[in-house]
Symmetry: C2
Subunit: 276 residues, 2 copies
Amino acid sequence: MNIGIVGLGLMGGSLAIALKKFPNKYKTFGYDHNLSHIKEAIELGLVDKIVESFEEIKACDIIILAIPVRSIVKSMNDMIGVGENVTIIDFGSTKKEIVSSIPPQIRKNFVPSHPMTGTEKTGPTASIENLYVDKIMVVCDLEQSGVRQQEVALELFNDIGSKIIQMDSASHDNSVAFISHMPHALSFALVNSVLVQKSSDDILALEGGSFKSMSRISKSSPIMWSDIFIQNRNNLLLSLQSVKNELEKCEDMLKNDDWQGIHDWIEKANRLKGIL
Amino acid sequence: MNIGIVGLGLMGGSLAIALKKFPNKYKTFGYDHNLSHIKEAIELGLVDKIVESFEEIKACDIIILAIPVRSIVKSMNDMIGVGENVTIIDFGSTKKEIVSSIPPQIRKNFVPSHPMTGTEKTGPTASIENLYVDKIMVVCDLEQSGVRQQEVALELFNDIGSKIIQMDSASHDNSVAFISHMPHALSFALVNSVLVQKSSDDILALEGGSFKSMSRISKSSPIMWSDIFIQNRNNLLLSLQSVKNELEKCEDMLKNDDWQGIHDWIEKANRLKGIL
């Protein structure tokens, strides 16, 4: 099967690497707006062939949209006209707005998905082998995809070693707001707050591991994440309110010198030990 | 030199391990209120000798207080009466309240220090070799320590491979509030917010790396951290206000659909790439 990968960054590039294990099953075609991405992808030998026209992507059996979520929505109309057997898979971190923007005539072609994996790094050089192995692939609103498309997508996800779970797109967006998008907002807020108050020397001197953990994802791509934040605005606002409530509890306990309250609040967070 | 280690958890235990490289220079004596800690320390062979009375600790050449910061303050009076050549080093994560609680008659004995290293794990079994190697050791208000004590402490810190920096205790407390204490509060708040809203299954399914980074330090000890939060209350409140301001900026931009503003806010956080 010919598989057209739109976007040769971390997600698309790592998918291309994963598919090299199946040279007789998948042939990869890469497409990217960014010329330096194309150059890097060629140097790294990420895909079997770089294509320059989107029509060549549309002629593939499988199309992967591994681009920022706003670009996924913008590219919807370009995909009208694909053959009825073509499977289109997007890797967007938000799902509801993407799903509602799919033109009805290609709805069955589409399998909206979200691989729960990644790093803070971007571009073709960030691609790594085994990015998808043993990682969750969320597939949303699967009943609205064509039967053939369901089979093709699930087989592909199995081939790259993902663990598949199904979810409706509204639940997905609410859950990832809390478990992924709001934590990113916290990390951006932390770093912006610290960079205003403290010098690089202070940070380097006093960084003992905790700041490094908490700031790692603040290095994430501004384009990718501003797209995600805007598309999942309402859920993100809910989750930000929820974490601010917790911070205000902490502030109140500090002001009241409530050692026991703070102790119990931290102990409650410790319950995570039984989960992760 | 005999070195008495009060508290055989992660910090004290790891120090004992580090000193095993100098069998002819340092002999380690361990003291802990917690009987299961003593049992584990014996099983792990952490120290050369376990002692049961604090008087035996007071007879050592160097005393290390590797206990929660409130316990350090509480133990001050117990240390009155040490010989004038004894060096007392505390490893507390706050410094100002500890420094101001040192009885004047042992002020020269004292070298207030803060090793910028650790993990979220606790107890003797958490002890690791090389915990201090190439890590910063902050030494506060050093001019108030005796000349001999300064030499003994700095030599010890060199021996375990730490990089020493000096700071006054007020600056220390303000800086670590932003770089360490507030990030812990963020992690506790994040996890408490998510545990209320989401099931363990959701967390396990949708955790793609970012939540793991952001939640790691939420597993930290409630006793240790409620002590730190209370002792560094004012600086922590300042830093919480600062991070909440950033979160509110983010909320305002979301409400105003301000893609460019969010993009620029994230890009500002990306400046960390040049630092860490």
